[in-house]
């Protein structure tokens, strides 16, 4: 008889978090991360499935069972090396990936209890390494070839890191004054500290990548001009253009796009005004329009900036929200109120041109639409007016158009995204693209997956050339 197996714990090891009452008064990180003991305890729960369904759910194909096994053995240095074979930005992914919809969704343990918290373990390892200093692994010999990367967001950083490891000279051109893309301008400090983004970008520079900020491709150089200096180009310019509803009163003072609000607060650090120059105004009654992660981020920032009441106004119901469950839970804990099946009709201003109220209409759900979610339909005569002094429009972002407008021969869809094959190859030879600029607004990790694929494809292309 084999010896009896130890009983595997069905419940996940909880993540320590800042108390909601405390955290709504600061911008410090909410989730505090596992200790070594907690990480090992969580790793012990892994069944080490041979088929590793978790890996199939990972856009960057990290060998998840292998790194979890190494955590159990307390070989944290080897474990982080294993993670980094697949992912150059683990401290970021461990924090912002929707693991519950990816690796963890497939976890066998999830069928009998809580899935293994793969994201928290990834974060633990990344933080463990950050505290000790990044290890730079030996990589391939120089190929003598150069690749230009447009945009230092998740797709561009990943593509650049992978190309550098393969022996290419990668130069990233970033239009903003800091690298990171949405990681630096969009996701708030309390969810992803900017120091971490800066450190991971520095790590990528240490791999040999050059990051050139304040360089807007399409304006400073065209893609054609880049092709004269580089052997290939990767475009990862993302979806950064704010969407508005085009309803009356939307240009009143006090109404922001979520992008403007988050850029002020995160990239420009308006929460530390006037020590930082960029201001942000937040009134007492804030309405955030939309139901995605950006809406949650905006609402939680507004609370921290002193709003008395923050409402998320969403035209569908809770089930259709394209948001991480964890973020909704965090927002609710902090006191964000949800107004479902409601849509603004118009904004009403005071005599100084500031928003003072919002007329809304109630919605009901009809048949599923193209997104597979039930279509919201306005309910006749259900209009009502509610007082607001700040509104944040978080209803989505569209692709950045500058490259498409300035690159002849680049095939583009009617939505403004760049057309590529499954490996990121565009209609122009030597030009690849990936991330939100190809898919439309999606996740950090899917952009990283696209960056990875494109780096592989660029490698294959340049090896043949």
């Amino acid at each position: 008889m084999s010896k009896p197996k130890p009983k595997i714990k069905k419940e996940v090891v909880p993540m320590p978090k800042q108390d909601p009452k405390e955290r709504i008064r600061n911008f410090n990180e909410v989730a505090l991360g596992y200790t070594e003991e907690q990480a090992v305890a969580e790793a012990e729960r892994c069944l080490q499935c041979v088929k590793a369904p978790c890996v199939q759910g990972c856009p960057v194909e990290i060998d998840i069972p292998a790194f979890i096994q190494l955590i159990r053995e307390r070989k944290f240095d080897e474990a982080i090396r294993k993670v980094k074979e697949g992912n150059s930005l683990p401290a970021i992914c461990g924090r912002v990936c929707p693991q519950e919809a990816q690796c963890q969704a497939n976890c066998t343990m999830g069928k009998v209890g809580d899935p293994i918290s793969i994201g928290r373990l990834e974060r633990f390892l990344a933080d463990w390494e950050r505290q000790r200093g990044y290890e730079i692994l030996q990589h391939s010999n120089s190929t003598g070839k150069r690749v230009a990367i447009v945009g230092a967001g998740p797709a561009g950083l990943t593509a650049a890191a992978d190309l550098a490891k393969l022996g290419y000279e990668a130069v990233i051109f970033e239009a903003l004054h800091k690298p990171g893309g949405v990681l630096i301008y969009g996701i708030p400090e309390f969810r992803l500290p900017k120091k971490i983004v800066e450190e991971e970008a520095e790590y990528i520079e240490k791999l040999g990548v050059t990051i050139k900020t304040n360089a807007m491709i399409g304006k400073l150089y065209t893609i054609k001009e880049l092709l004269e200096q580089f052997d290939a180009v990767f475009i990862g310019t993302g979806a950064g253009l704010p969407r508005f509803m085009r309803i009356p009163g939307e240009n009143l003072c006090g109404i922001y796009s979520a992008n403007e609000f988050l850029i002020r607060v995160n990239l420009m650090k308006a929460y530390d005004f006037p020590r930082f120059d960029t201001p942000v105004f937040v009134g007492e009654k804030v309405a955030v329009i939309g139901g995605g992660n950006t809406a949650m981020d905006s609402a939680r920032c507004a609370l921290r900036l002193g709003a008395k009441e923050v409402k998320i106004v969403y035209r569908r119901s809770r089930q259709e929200m394209p948001t991480r469950a964890e973020e909704v839970e965090n927002a609710e804990e902090e006191g964000v109120v949800f107004e479902f099946l409601t849509n603004p009709r118009r904004f009403i201003g005071n005599d100084r041109g500031w928003v003072k109220a919002m007329e809304c209409i109630r919605m009901r759900l009809g048949e599923p639409d193209a997104s597979g979610r039930r279509r919201p339909i306005p309910i006749e005569d259900s209009e009502f007016t509610t007082d607001v002094d700040t509104v944040i429009m978080a209803i989505g972002r569209t692709p950045n158009p500058i490259i498409q407008q300035t690159t002849e021969g680049l095939q583009v869809t009617k939505w403004g995204t760049i057309v590529t094959d499954e490996n990121g190859k565009t209609s122009i030879e030597g030009v690849y693209a990936g991330g939100d600029i190809v898919t439309g607004q999606a996740t950090v990790i899917s952009a990283m997956g696209a960056g990875k694929k494109a780096a592989k494809a660029i490698h294959q292309y340049l090896m043949k050339k």
Binding site: A175, L176, H177, Y185, T213, N214, A215, M216, K219, L220, Y221, G240, L241, P242, F244, R246, E250, N251, C253, G254, Y256, S257, N259, E260, I263, R264, M268, K269, F273, P274, R275, F276, D277, T278, P279, F281, R352, G353, N400, P401, I402
Partner: protein, 275 residues
């Protein structure tokens, strides 16, 4: 880092800066702007480009000290550096052969207007220049403008120098055949000029730099209603049809952060900021 290779005070509290920025210089066309950031705590400041010298690899901007950031910029000297400089941003001005072009500039925007006037002249236009300021001591670039314009008129708000206000343009617009009007300056000036040209149906282009953050189409802070549609001045402009712009809304939006701007200024004056 971007070095200030030359600085010249034009009138008190208004200085001209030449920044070393070779790459930007090569691509700059009249009508475009840059965004700069002085230091790590700095905000992103949009400034219209007043010249680009390809040989020297410099771009020129003129800055009037009105708030914290512009005052801080004004305190920098030749040889000092700023942290960030991004550009050229926005669409270039449409420079074509129109015939007679009336170019009206107010305040510091006379300098970037001068950059356009040169281009209009080169394109074979006759240029009538109008420069204005609040009062005589605020007038800039008069000699430079006189050199490149076929005719030049001067106006001040108080009338101490030249015409009092822009009312004199009524006569000018009636008497002369003008094919296109370019206006750069404070929003009130742009509005006045647009109203004066409207009855004559003369195409009137106004250059708008509202409040901006990124300057590349991402934030929408600079949205302006043009012909009933919302446009982003940073990427759809900065040039727009002056007869279509909702100037009232724009003026209101320009004041959105006035209390914060005042606070930042006081904080700076008291030596705040330790970054």
């Amino acid at each position: 880092m971007y070095k200030i290779v030359a600085k010249r005070e034009l009138v008190p509290h208004t200085s001209l800066f030449e920044f070393s920025a070779k790459e930007i210089t090569a691509k700059t066309k009249p009508g475009q702007f840059v965004i700069l950031r002085i230091d790590e705590g700095g905000e992103r400041i949009p400034l219209t480009i007043a010249d680009a010298n390809v040989e020297k690899g410099t771009i020129t901007v003129v800055c009037h000290e009105v708030g914290k950031s512009t005052k801080q910029l004004g305190s920098l000297k030749e040889g000092d550096c700023i942290l960030d400089l991004l550009g050229p941003l926005g669409k270039p001005a449409e420079i074509g052969k129109f015939g007679t072009v009336l170019c009206v500039g107010g305040g510091v925007m006379v300098a970037p207007l001068h950059f356009q006037v040169k281009a209009f002249r080169e394109a074979g236009n006759k240029v009538i220049g109008v420069i204005g300021a609040r009062t005589e001591s605020h007038l800039i670039f008069e000699d430079e403008m006189r050199e490149v314009c076929d005719e030049l008129y001067v106006a001040t708000d108080d009338g101490i120098r030249g015409y009092k206000g822009l009312d004199f343009l009524k006569e000018l617009l009636k008497e002369r055949k003008i094919d296109r009007v370019i206006a750069m300056g404070p929003i009130v000036t742009l509005k006045t000029v647009s109203e004066l040209t409207r009855p004559h149906g003369i195409p009137t282009i106004v250059n708008l730099i509202p409040i901006m953050v990124d300057g590349m189409g991402m934030c929408g802070a600079c949205r302006v209603t043009v012909g009933g549609k919302t446009m982003f001045a940073c990427v759809d402009g900065p040039d727009f049809d002056g007869h279509q712009v909702d100037f009232e809304e724009l003026m209101t939006r320009m004041k959105m952060f006035t209390p914060q701007e005042k606070l930042a200024f006081v904080f700076y004056e008291q030596g705040g900021r330790s970054l």
